[in-house]
């Protein structure tokens, strides 16, 4: 029996071009952009402004969410309208720590976060216990979204809820959570959520160094997500997922229990979203229940669809295209942004089932055929 370690096989199973692009990406995000932001003077043509760093950092977080969404939707065929919830939960979990780090620098100069003072609360609710610890916050970020997803997924998949039913139920779950977080009494700042963060681990959150650190972490996390995703989809696990997408009953009659496959990828997807949310919140400086709105969750799906489902690079490209367009439109033609986004949904589903990546592959194939025809 051939016993090559699976890591080696995995490295072999991924084309060289993939590793090269990853290295280029690493160089760009971990070296070039940080240096151009920190070391190049502001007036210089090569200076990367803090606006750009924050925008790209935000998009990196969105890209992680998009890849996570693609793992569950593109590869396993399960469309979630609840990924906004997992993203927000990760954000809130880390946001609690950020709120505590404000310390007495809030507008009420109190020990408690401002919104609690405003509600006339005298002490922290029990679920805020330990929120002043960075480690605990990190644990919450990893555990809470994954746990919620696991519990929800376990029951939903066990009851064999699939297709649009599953989508609608995830939407209802997210909607319920949003209503819950909108309440002031829930203890997460109600409408306004968390904002006015001051520092992380004692360092100012607005310093260029912190900005670059968060940016770099997001880039690293995206790369880790891509490598992990690549590993999963090339493993037998990934093939079973694709099989579930194509013919779930056949999978069952072959002796696989789809429940655990779906549950595993669903929970992993939520976990990745949670991490992305935790990286996102300190970069944009705010988290509120609006992140849980139906619109946000559906938008994640369109990032994936625009880029190309069931590819790993597609969601990253899609997240970038849609969000850069959003920044452009909301500044230049705010009136037309929704028309553009809406049209994007329609156009992609009608004419671009494989997204930009699919279009590119198709064009390349046609070129090759033409070349072959000539030769």
């Amino acid at each position: 029996m051939n016993r090559t370690p699976f890591i080696v096989r995995f490295l072999q199973a991924t084309p060289k071009s993939g590793w090269i692009s990853l290295a280029v990406f690493a160089l760009l995000t971990l070296v070039i952009i940080p240096v151009l932001h920190l070391a190049v003077a502001e007036g210089s043509a090569f200076h990367v402004s803090s606006y750009v760093v924050t925008l790209v950092g935000k998009i990196l977080c969105y890209a992680i969410v998009a890849v996570a969404m693609d793992l569950i939707w593109g590869y396993a065929g399960i469309l979630s309208l609840g990924h906004g919830l997992f993203f927000a939960l990760g954000g809130y979990a880390f946001g609690m720590y950020l709120m505590r780090q404000i310390g007495r620098d809030g507008s009420y100069k109190a020990d408690l976060p401002d919104f609690m003072v405003f509600l006339d609360w005298k002490e922290l609710p029990w679920y805020w216990t330990g929120s002043d610890s960075f480690i605990w916050a990190a644990v919450l970020v990893l555990v809470v979204p994954a746990l919620v997803a696991f519990a929800f997924g376990f029951f939903a998949f066990r009851s064999r809820i699939k297709g649009v039913y599953f989508s609608i139920i995830t939407q209802a779950m997210t909607f319920a959570a949003m209503l819950l977080f909108f309440r002031n009494e829930t203890g997460f700042g109600g409408n306004n959520g968390f904002t006015d963060f001051k520092r992380i681990l004692g360092h100012s959150i607005t310093s260029p160094e912190m900005r670059v650190t968060l940016f770099g972490l997001s880039a690293l996390m995206l790369m880790a997500t891509l490598v992990l995703g690549r590993y999963i989809v090339t493993s037998k696990f990934g093939r079973v997922l694709a099989a579930i997408r194509d013919a779930e009953s056949r999978v069952m009659f072959l002796g696989y229990n789809p429940l655990y496959y779906k549950l595993a990828i669903w929970t992993l997807s939520a976990l990745l979203c949670g991490i992305a949310g935790a990286l996102y919140v300190p970069q944009v400086g705010i988290i509120n229940p609006g992140e849980m709105s139906t619109a946000n969750s559906i938008e994640i799906a369109i990032w994936v669809a625009v880029g190309g489902r069931a590819t790993l690079i597609g969601p990253v490209i899609g997240a970038a295209i849609v969000n850069l367009s959003k920044s452009f439109f909301t500044q230049a033609f705010p009136e037309y942004w929704l028309f553009f986004l809406g049209a994007l949904f329609v156009v992609v589903t009608l004419w671009l089932p494989n997204g930009v990546v699919g279009l590119w592959q198709q064009m390349r194939q046609q070129m090759q055929q033409k070349r072959r025809a000539k030769a």
Partner: protein
């Protein structure tokens, strides 16, 4: 007693030019507020039409004393004048005036009013006013010196349905306020009766508001149930079809206001067909241009229709502005139906419940009594087979979608009467209407009806003890859990064609 005789005398006497007995006038002119009040009460008991004029003049500050000087009044006296005027109006010839007076008096009847109330009660013939007066009289005599009068009063109050009276009776049944144990017992007995009546009334009120919410949900979900049932299409733009219906109503209102102001009250009737066809037209457009090309790909349909909904919302913003527009109830729909003193059912809600029943009956008849309905049901149950036996499935799809959209438009008409009309209004209903469809079971009209009404009533009851937000969360969680147990909904189709 002397005052009373005096009052009676006033009542019977042919009046002097001044209209008021000079002794009373003199008392009114007194420097002491207490004297003034005594005189006012005397006038109140007189039940004399001229007394009304005198009191009015007094309130206005134009009444002159025998020396021809204005009589001044302070706030305390003024309050007394108001009460006296109400008491006097109890004898007005116009029953409407008497009713409003009776209501006013009943709200703050005190012991001093007892005689005049007794008199008014004796003269009154209208049963409704009589009831009010009896209540007010009982309330006024509840603090009477004689225990037997108090007992009678407490007993008389048992038929009330007024939360204030409940509180008064409760107080009367406590030892601190009432020395006589017999009175306490009678008061407590009556208190229990009133409490039960109020609880019942409250329950009826909640059921009604639940029905009202349910009928809105039904109107929102009925169209969705058809499109989802027939085509398996999740139409995320369904809420925007509601919005189109509501804006169509707004349009008709504007049209009538500008061109047919005399018939403004009837704009709503005109809006019904207009909203139906406007929404149905948009529905056909969506079906022909987008949804048709996505059959068999439900998840893609979900995304594409979401995109359509974004565009429709933005279109509404561009056309009508981002602000809510004002749609008024026609006059025949404003006001309420009082079923108990504490329960008023708003007319607009009653009309909407009726309207949704009407739409439901129409849809039911269409689905079960017409050839079109038969085709639609055939396609719902087995599309390929329906196609094989010659049902034009693609045309049925368009018609069914138009129908579903049109019904959403009708839902919009109803919504415009009770909710804000704005570009985002549809978004608020999309989750709810999906929940109704999912709960009811796909393609099941009966399921949608039970689910809508059930959800409406359950929500209202939950709201009363947990608040609106928690109620909503509880309902959503309940549905999520319920779907785990019965993935096919309340009314499931069974058999081998169900899965996949």
């Amino acid at each position: 007693m002397r005052h009373f005789l005096l009052a009676l005398f006033c009542c019977l006497s042919l009046h002097a030019v001044a209209g008021v007995d000079t002794a009373v006038l003199k008392q009114l002119a007194s420097e002491e507020s207490d004297d003034k009040i005594a005189a006012i009460q005397k006038l109140a008991r007189s039940a004399d039409p001229d007394a009304i004029k005198t009191l009015h003049d007094l309130a206005e500050g134009t009444l002159k004393d025998d020396k021809g000087e204005d009589i001044t009044v302070n706030n305390r006296v003024r309050r007394e004048i108001d009460a006296a005027l109400a008491a006097l109006r109890l004898f007005d010839a116009d029953p409407v005036a008497r009713l409003s007076a009776a209501k006013e008096v009943a709200a703050n009847a005190d012991a001093s009013m007892a005689p005049v109330l007794a008199k008014a009660l004796a003269k009154e013939s209208d049963p409704k006013i009589k009831g009010l007066l009896a209540e007010a009289h009982a309330l006024a005599t509840l603090k009477d010196a004689k225990p037997e009068v108090r007992i009678a009063a407490a007993k008389a109050l048992a038929s009330s349905a007024d939360p204030n009276i409940k509180a008064v009776l409760k107080a009367q049944s406590e030892e601190a306020n009432e020395a006589e144990s017999l009175v306490r017992r009678a008061a407590f007995q009556s208190y229990l009766e009133v409490k039960d009546r109020l609880t019942l009334a409250e329950t009826v009120g909640k059921i009604f508001s639940g029905l009202s919410l349910g009928s809105i949900l039904l109107l929102a979900a009925l169209g969705l149930a058809i499109t989802y049932g027939v085509m398996g299409v999740i139409n995320m733009a369904h809420g925007e079809l509601l919005m189109i219906g509501a804006y169509a109503t707004f349009g008709m209102q504007t049209l009538f206001r500008n061109h047919l102001p005399d018939y403004l009250d009837w704009y709503l009737l005109a809006a019904v067909p207009v909203a139906f066809f406007a929404a149905a037209g948009v529905g056909v457009l969506l079906e022909r241009t987008v949804i048709r090309w996505l059959y068999g790909r439900p998840l893609e349909t979900l995304l594409a229709t979401w995109g359509l909904s974004l565009m429709l919302i933005q279109a509404a913003r561009v056309l009508f502005g981002a602000q809510n527009v004002e749609v008024a109830n026609p006059s025949w729909m404003s006001g309420g139906l009082e079923i108990l003193p504490s329960i008023v059912l708003p007319l607009n809600r009653i009309v909407i419940v009726g309207f949704s029943l009407f739409v439901l009956a129409l849809v039911w008849a269409l689905m079960n009594k017409t050839r079109l309905g038969m085709f639609v049901r055939a396609v719902t149950q087995n599309r390929p087979m329906a196609g094989c036996v010659g049902v034009p499935t693609t045309r049925i799809d368009t018609v069914a979608f138009a129908l579903g959209a049109g019904i959403a438009g009708l839902g919009g008409v109803a919504l415009s009467q009770i909710a804000n009309v704005g570009p985002d209004m549809g978004q608020g209903y999309i989750v709810d209407s999906f929940m109704v469809v999912v709960l009811g079971g796909v393609g099941q009209l009966a399921g949608a009806v039970w689910a809508a009404l059930g959800l409406g009533i359950v929500s209202k009851f939950l709201e009363s003890w947990a608040g609106a937000v928690i109620a909503k969360i509880v309902v959503l969680v309940f549905i999520i859990v319920f779907i785990q147990k019965r993935p096919q909904g309340l009314f499931a189709l069974k058999g081998r064609f169900v899965e996949n």
